[in-house]
């Protein structure tokens, strides 16, 4: 079973690596780059919001910060076009992460709805600053970046592989967090924060660390996005829909799961791009996009991954029950009585409903 799983993941990885060679059409690879960017952002967002249950709707502030760091540094440091700007990506992430520390300390004093509202407020402060700090951001006229020295059918490929690398890194961090004691503490915070604190979980620093980690990745993606689109403007890099998008992708795939954010991004981003292509900019695509979303929420309210894994478990349970029914009459006898006697008291007196498992 484990070998099948690893083999499956390796095949997926090979497919992801070979994708630009299999589909070299720039129209397709452009969609692929945006999709991977959203998959990475949703994965990073999930490390904080999915595991702790604190829904942050202000990560576009970190995305925009990363984008402006990239644009400003390319200008001020006279970074030549080519592969050199890619080396600034970690700096974009780092600056976003540094901004995330005080924001996190303030916002994480609150919980639930208040927390969501405060993160949205932070986002709008950043957007306003991008419009108004003209000396730094050039206001609504925006900033332009160096234009990559490669072009044609090859144009998207460096971006594709760098985005894929960031996605894999975010996924590795997410996997490690999910399996570590630290991550278990985050999940405990999601379920009952005060109880977790009373069991020795350092809830404050744990939440802040997850917030900063997610901001780092989103900042890095903002920087990469800026170089990819070549020019940035306040409403596009500080876009409230960006927050809605990564949250919806994660909800759809499965909040707090490893694969969920990626699956959500793989479905929603190409769909959106496709509808934009077909219906142009007239906004009809938003109606279809919204309707699709409602349908999925109605059918899979907890997200794709949890729903499917539950149905899979139920199907396996029902199958093993069927085989048991065949075997039981033969194996029945004194052994059942012995089992009853040996069973710990808690199980016999309370009775577990196997069907619910």
């Amino acid at each position: 079973m484990r070998i099948v799983k690893i083999a499956g993941l390796l095949i997926l990885l090979a497919f992801a690596i070979a994708f630009p060679l299999l589909f070299p059409n720039p129209a397709i690879t452009t969609v692929a780059v945006f999709t991977l960017m959203f998959a990475a952002a949703a994965t990073a967002w999930n490390i904080f919001s999915g595991y702790t249950g604190y829904i942050a709707l202000g990560h576009a502030a970190f995305f925009g910060t990363g984008a402006y760091v990239m644009a400003i540094l390319c200008q001020d440091w006279h970074i030549p076009a080519g592969y050199a700007p890619f080396s600034l990506l970690p700096l974009g992430g780092l600056v976003a992460a540094i901004f995330a520390v005080p924001l996190g300390i303030i916002a994480l004093r609150t919980r639930r709805h208040t927390f969501i509202v405060i993160t949205i407020a932070f986002f709008f402060i950043f957007q306003l600053l991008a419009y108004n700090l003209r000396g730094l951001t050039n206001g609504s006229a925006g900033l332009s970046l160096p234009i990559p020295t490669w072009s044609g059918d090859f144009y998207n490929e460096p971006f594709y592989y760098i985005t894929l690398a960031i996605l894999l890194l975010a996924l590795a961090v997410s996997w490690w967090v999910r399996n570590s004691k630290y991550g278990l503490g985050l999940l405990a915070i999601r379920d009952d924060e005060d109880r977790a604190l009373g069991l020795g979980v350092k809830t404050g620093p744990s939440k802040l660390a997850a917030f900063v980690i997610s901001a780092f990745f989103v900042g890095m993606l903002g920087a990469l996005n800026a170089y990819f689109v070549e020019a940035i403007f306040p409403p596009f890099v500080f876009d409230p829909l960006y927050d809605v998008a990564i949250a919806l992708m994660t909800f759809m795939g499965g909040l707090g799961t490893l694969a969920g954010p990626i699956i959500g991004a793989l479905i929603l981003e190409p769909t959106q791009q496709y509808f934009t292509l077909i219906y142009g900019e007239n906004g009809w695509y938003l109606v279809i996009y919204g309707a699709l979303f409602i349908v999925i929420i109605l059918l899979l309210p907890r997200g794709i991954v949890p729903t499917i894994s539950e149905r899979w478990a139920r199907w396996r349970a029902s199958r093993s029950n069927m085989t048991e029914q065949v075997i039981v009459p033969v194996a029945n006898g004194s052994s059942t009585g012995d089992n009853q006697a040996v069973r710990p008291l808690a199980e016999t007196s309370e009775g577990v409903k196997e069907g619910n498992l």
Binding site: N179, D194, R195, V352
Partner: protein, 243 residues
């Protein structure tokens, strides 16, 4: 020796005096009972000891150290574990994951290690065996019955090996067989040296289990002594019957 000492603690919520210069001692190695009518301040006292509420005045000492108004994680790390009246477990985590939440994280390296390969894993299974719910280890805790949740909450505080355990109504809302099971587990741990402070309304349970019993009424302690003596105390009868 007194392992836990509460000295003249007062705590008000608005106009309600939940604790009124309340003092209480818990002797090391004993099972101390805490009874009293509803609203007499038993749970508030637990909250004050474990850092969930700040005191208005007074002091709490543990092993001779002042722990008044320490945060809950520090109190737990010092060796005081507690359960809640309405059990508080982590419903979306599996039973085994629940067990590891309270496993100590002394340093960064510990935090970054995988919980499932930690040295506590064997201990977690032992404790699940101890309370008898090992079979349910991979089940989400939300799917447990009320009694099983109580056992889980009891088991997961044990992983940190607390010196003192405060139990808030361990026998509340569970069937008689389960009550006996829980009582036997408490006694077994007590024989290994764990000190208990137990809030309970089930008098039979308290009388059988406890070495001494404290009675609270209107935010303060009105009686203390061996179970039989407390049962005959006129003040106690007054508090329960006269209001």
């Amino acid at each position: 020796m007194n392992i836990l000492e509460v000295q003249n603690v007062s705590k008000a919520f608005g106009g309600i005096q939940a604790l009124n210069t309340c003092s209480l001692t818990v002797e090391q190695g004993k099972i101390t009972g805490l009874i009293g009518p509803n609203g007499s301040g038993k749970t508030t006292l637990f909250n004050v000891i474990t850092g969930y509420e700040r005191v208005d005045s007074g002091e709490v000492q543990f092993n001779g150290r002042r722990i008044t108004n320490s945060s809950p994680d520090k109190v737990f790390a010092m060796g005081i574990g507690r359960t809640f009246q309405l059990t508080r477990i982590f419903p979306r985590l599996t039973v085994l994951e629940n067990m590891h939440v309270a496993a100590q994280r002394h340093n960064l390296k510990g935090l970054l290690s995988r919980w499932s390969s930690s040295h506590e894993q064997r201990r977690a299974i032992e404790l699940l065996d101890f309370v008898g719910i090992t079979r349910l280890k991979d089940v989400p805790a939300a799917n447990l019955s009320y009694g099983q949740k109580k056992l889980l909450e009891f088991a997961f505080i044990l992983i940190a090996e607390p010196e003192v355990i405060l139990l808030d109504e361990p026998a509340g809302g569970v069937n008689p067989t389960m009550i006996n099971h829980i009582g036997a587990r408490i006694r077994e741990l007590n024989q290994q040296g764990v000190t208990f402070l137990v809030v309970e309304h089930n008098m039979e349970f308290v009388m059988k289990l406890c070495d001494t019993v404290n009675v609270m009424h209107r935010g303060t302690k009105i009686a203390e002594g061996p179970p039989e003596a407390v049962r005959e105390n006129p003040d106690v009868l007054d508090a329960y019957l006269g209001g």
